[in-house]
């Protein structure tokens, strides 16, 4: 039995080791090395890469990234909750709606972002239509700003909020909602006092699933944010590509990861307290 278990677990254990543990170890080591003359890394060991992060320039990028990821998470939950509730209560049509929610995954995220660019740019569909109808004279600046990045994030990660919310709402005992109404609670009161608290684990899961990838995103900000909206993800990408500052890029990645893990524990502890 134990041998059989080892046999079947071995492939995934090896895969995890190679694809997660090893790169992580390499990044950790890189983050305390010096920058090589032609890219790459070299000795001596130094804490300088972490010290550089105190620079207000990077502080701004961190704050913007956290703010955008935070707002995107909030919007995803606010938009996702009613949708999840609707799906959970739609009986035999549940599977159809769930399929529609995950349908966008059938197309590459990159391609879908390009589609947004075609919609939002100055000569894009929205501006062209509004101009030809005479509503506006000059095209609305909808692309290459924080708003466009936020739109891209909410659009891309909404399904990640809807699915865990749906999973908790679907399991919610209808008797509890009946009981609350029976005890005099109006629908809004039932939502606030019963549905939302009992949904806390689902909201926590949705928050993590949206916030963490949003925090590390770089494609969305790269394509929809232009050169103005630099996020942590773009910073890391730049260090490893054009800037050739691998040690600094590694340090930024490590800090980002630590913050994400700490948040994960905080959310988990909070939702455990509620139940």
């Amino acid at each position: 039995m134990t041998r059989l278990r080892t046999f079947f677990l071995a492939p995934s254990a090896v895969l995890m080791l190679i694809t997660i543990a090893a790169p992580l170890a390499i990044i950790c080591v890189y983050s305390v090395l010096s920058r090589g003359a032609y890219g790459g890394v070299e000795l001596p060991w130094t804490p300088e890469n972490y010290r550089r992060l105190i620079d207000p320039l990077f502080g701004g990028i961190f704050i913007r990234s956290f703010a955008l990821a935070g707002i995107a998470t909030l919007l995803c939950i606010l938009l996702g909750f009613p949708l999840a509730l609707f799906i959970a209560q739609s009986g035999t049509r549940k599977n159809l709606y769930l399929t529609l929610v995950i349908l966008p995954f059938w197309t590459s995220f990159l391609i879908r972002l390009y589609a947004w660019m075609f919609l939002l740019r100055d000569t894009g569909l929205i501006n062209t239509v509004l101009q030809s109808l005479g509503f506006i004279r000059e095209p609305l600046p909808m692309l290459y700003n924080n708003g466009a990045v936020l739109l891209g994030l909410v659009y891309g990660f909404l399904p990640f909020a809807v699915l865990p919310l749906y999973a908790t709402l679907e399991r919610l005992d209808q008797n509890l909602l009946d009981a609350a109404a029976d005890l005099g609670a109006r629908p809004v009161s039932v939502l606030i006092r019963i549905t939302l608290p009992l949904c806390a684990p689902g909201i926590g899961a949705a928050a993590i699933l949206v916030f963490v990838p949003c925090l590390g995103t770089y494609i969305t900000s790269d394509l929809l944010g232009g050169s103005k909206t630099i996020l942590i993800g773009n910073l890391v990408q730049n260090q490893f590509t054009t800037a050739r500052e691998w040690p600094f890029g590694a340090a930024v990645s490590i800090v980002l990861m630590i913050v994400a893990v700490l948040l994960l524990f905080a959310v988990r502890r909070h939702s455990e307290e509620l139940l």
């Binding site: 005992d173 008797n175 509890l176 009946d178 009981a179 609350a180 109404a181 029976d182 005890l183 005099g184 609670a185 109006r186 009161s189 006092r193 019963i194 608290p197 009992l198 509620l274 139940l275």
Partner: protein, 321 residues
């Protein structure tokens, strides 16, 4: 004794897409009484309860509570409260939180005192800060009762509240429930499929079958003067001989033919069951049917023995099938 009617159903029907769950039910319940809806599972008794609570709307008919028509009001505007079969306690709230839940909507001033009182009534004092998951089945049931009773409902609706308890606890809780109803004076509408439970608890019983009420009355009336075969068989045991019903305890056994004036049949003792205070004999009649006779303990007939089963004509029940 002129009793005041607190809850009245007038010709209430409920149709779901394929079938009629409740079929033209009319009943009236006296204030302060213990009323049971008794019937097999699927007979529509729980749907009837849900129509009164407001979780379902009737397809036709009227529901009147305390002189006000309530069938189109939402649940939160009806002064009835429900004890659910699964209790439906809020898992994220403590015992106190559960009991206080409804008071927050009721705008009462002495909420704290009322919670204390009702928890004392159901013997849960000292467990205010426990979560439902930390309580036993019996304690959960009492929280469900307290949570509903604290709102002083016109009628308390109980949906098989004893069925989730183990059999030993059930009889004890049954007595406590009856006692609680007497002390609080609240009208109880109790839904059950257990005829013994209904008989032991109720002032009046309505027996339901396939969505309709077969008969309503006191437990004695229903037992002694059932109006249909269904009622006669559902409430206590019944033997059927040539379309005539005889209760097992009304029949007698003897080795000799009975004297004039009694009706009877000949048969053979198939087997006997000793039940402490009394015993049951299963008699195979000449026609092949099995007839059950209940006697006091200590009467000796052996399996295989030829006997006469007989009864007084006045104990015969002639009922439409």
């Amino acid at each position: 004794m002129g009793m005041e009617v607190i809850l009245e159903l007038r010709d209430v029907s409920k149709e779901f897409s394929a079938h009629r769950a409740v079929n033209r039910v009319s009943l009236s319940i006296d204030r302060g009484s213990f009323f049971s809806l008794l019937g097999p599972s699927g007979c529509g008794k729980t749907t009837t309860l849900r129509l009164i609570a407001g979780f379902e709307a009737p397809t036709s008919g009227e529901v009147w509570l305390n002189g006000v028509r309530i069938d189109s009001l939402p649940p939160y505007r009806r002064n009835v409260n429900t004890v659910f079969q699964s209790y439906a306690l809020f898992p994220h709230l403590t015992v106190r939180g559960n009991v206080e839940f409804g008071l927050r909507h009721a705008a009462v001033t002495n909420a704290r005192e009322r919670v204390r009182q009702v928890l004392e009534q159901v013997q849960l004092s000292g467990k205010e800060d426990r979560k439902p998951s930390q309580l036993s089945g019996g304690e959960r049931q009492r929280v469900a009762l307290a949570r509903a009773l604290v709102l002083a409902p016109d009628v308390l609706l109980l949906d098989e509240p004893l069925s989730a308890l183990d059999p030993q606890l059930r009889k004890q809780v049954r007595a406590e429930l009856k006692d609680l109803q007497r002390r609080t004076g609240v009208t109880f509408l109790f839904v059950t499929h257990d005829q013994e439970e209904a008989m032991a608890l109720s002032d009046r019983i309505a027996i339901m079958n396939t969505g309709a009420i077969e008969q309503a009355g006191t437990p004695q009336e229903l037992y002694q003067q059932p109006r249909s075969r269904f009622v006669a068989s559902f409430l206590g045991a019944m033997n059927w001989v040539d379309g005539i019903g005889i209760r097992p305890e009304s029949a007698l056994l003897s080795r000799d033919p009975p004297s004039n004036g009694s009706n009877g049949r000949r048969g053979i003792v198939a087997h006997t069951t000793f039940l402490g205070s009394h015993q049951h004999f299963a008699i195979q009649l000449e026609g092949g049917e099995v007839f059950t006779v209940q006697t006091v303990a200590g009467i000796a007939f052996k399996p295989g023995e030829a006997v006469h089963v007989f009864w007084e004509p006045s104990d015969e029940l002639r009922l439409p099938s």
